[in-house]
Symmetry: C2
Amino acid sequence: MAPLQPLGRERCLELLASVPVGRVVFTLRALPAIRPVNHLVDGDTVVIRSSLTTSLASAAIADGAVVVAYEADEIDPDRRSGWTVVVTGAARLILDEERLARYEHAIEPWADEPMACVIGIDCDLVTGYQLASAG
Amino acid sequence: MAPLQPLGRERCLELLASVPVGRVVFTLRALPAIRPVNHLVDGDTVVIRSSLTTSLASAAIADGAVVVAYEADEIDPDRRSGWTVVVTGAARLILDEERLARYEHAIEPWADEPMACVIGIDCDLVTGYQLASAG
């Protein structure tokens, strides 16, 4: 058995920035939905880009913002060690041309997604845990 | 650029059963919530066990069932290949003693979690995609 250790905000954002892939969690037709995407961390914003999040983007367009969770982890099942970080905050379509140009260059969607849009998630609430290696 | 290929239900459940860890997605105080847990697939039920899902368990106790999503993936950022599977369905506390004994033996929580309960997620809706290796 290994203890769960809470992580501080700065460490959480460092860990999140250290991996290229996470999962965006939102509500779609009143059901929980989750999609893996690649991301970057820019200050207090997680930036994602994927047409898999089209329904998320539609919600953001309609409402101005929608609250989502974004999770990344690195877990070693054999050693039972690793970490998980969850950011919860408003997701907004990024429309500013200078930011768009920068992010579109930095985050290339993996799949063939001509309609991919760029979404910024505010790091309003940041939580994370370290799962310490047993023994 | 690599294409996203939809996967059939049987293949999705095979892939889900091939990994020990996934992420349960639910609503907590009207916000999207996500927790990594270990799992097993028993027929058309995904079985998870973790006290990190205590709030999920409380909802299941109060309401009889709560709809959740469960996601697992294996993604290789360098090769831009991999897969993701999402199961959506009702989550219920498992209280049957014979099933409890079997699952508690098969799924050991990783963290030191004396209050861990066992939850079954119905595979009502199963979707998955293969991200084919580029080139």
